[in-house]
Amino acid sequence: MTNQHDDGNLDRRSFLKCMAWAGAGTLLMMKGGVLHARTLGADAGAEAKDTTFSFAQISDSHIGFHAAPNTDPASTLRAALAQVDALPVRPDFLLHTGDLTHLSRPDQFDTLAGLMQESRAGKGKVFYVPGEHDVIGDNGAEFFRHFGERQQPGGWYSFDHRGVHFVGLINVLGLKAGGLGFLGAEQLAWLKKDLAPLSAETPVLVFAHMPMWSLYPAWGWGTDDSLEAMGYLRRFGSVSVLNGHIHQIQQKVEGNITFYTARSTAYPQPAPGAGPAPGPLKSVTPDRLHSYLGIRGVHHVQGKDALAVTEEVMA
């Protein structure tokens, strides 16, 4: 594989084959309530075997992006989904943590929907939350029409899966000039009420597009009122927060709350503060692109107290 990369003449077909072989996202394993992050691969697959359930996260597919370093984000999303389909243990469902599209255009949402239908994982249950690229100009009307859960008027929702409480939050609407991501009073009130009946032993997994902690506010990588949300979550023994937006893996542990950001299936962004601004890392060459992209999987082991998060890159 390495030799194939080094020859510099990798054709499109073998490039895609290479990505499918190597992986394209993140596998998350819940082990007794604590989420463990791993790069998806042979080892992650073996770890998945002693779990009661797993799910995979993909993020930031940016359908409609058409510049360096990835002029074909549809093909890299397809490869990411193929990688999820190839996992030795089938994930129960898929999370897409936003920026499905680049410009919120109806045809871009249609392309995304079509690509999802091509894969077994994509045809199964997929939970979506919008990114800021999915709500441009229409406050998310087109996104919610295709992918909304419609449990609440604001679009946020929760569900329980095999003992774990999942919460999908929206922090890309009603953004204020000069601000970061934003949840808003209505959503926070809902969250408080949603969590209230749960025992502190319930593992909670929150997912939203923008980072739910102050990762790098100068580039907008944070959520203005996330502290209030964390206030409601602190009493739980195990809280995992999955985000996208920054197109790279960052992790942070704060008491019982562990934060993770995911890779993009489309293109990487610079490390926080590296360079003048966020945006696509244009200098990445085609033969190196796949090593920056990924999918994530989560496995849950009943009776233990951890979630295991694994990361799988495309290289």
Binding site: A68, I136, G137, G178, G179, L180, W219, G220, G279
Partner: protein, 114 residues
């Protein structure tokens, strides 16, 4: 060729080049170009001062899409601007117009109309 002669040679060309600019400045303020570049997630200049009736144009030089949206609805919002897309608004009344990119709200700018 000495420096003086070199400059002298250039003079007729400079005169020709300068003419359209002179013509432009003699037009109404509404036609004077006022351009704000969007580059590296910043509006440049961050503050632009224009006369009443000025037409202001924004052009996106980033690979990322941006928008131009008045912070309190004082002028019509742009659609998503892809790379090299532009948007223009005409400012008929004096005032301070704060705007931002709704995709990246930390990006703010101001148009002051006098």
């Amino acid at each position: 060729m000495n420096r003086l002669a070199y400059v002298a040679c250039l003079l007729p060309a400079l005169a020709v080049l300068a003419m359209p600019a002179v013509a432009a400045s003699s037009r109404s303020p509404a036609e004077k170009p006022n351009r704000i570049e969007i580059r590296n997630f910043m509006f440049t200049p961050k503050t632009l001062v224009v006369p009443v009736g000025a037409r202001v144009e924004w052009i996106n030089r980033d690979e990322e899409p941006h928008t131009v949206v008045s912070a309190n609805g004082q002028f019509a919002p742009s659609k998503a601007l892809d790379s090299n897309d532009s948007y223009a608004a005409t400012f008929g009344k004096p005032g301070t117009y704060v705007y931002y990119c709704t995709v990246h709200p930390f990006m703010t700018g101001t148009v002051i109309v006098k």
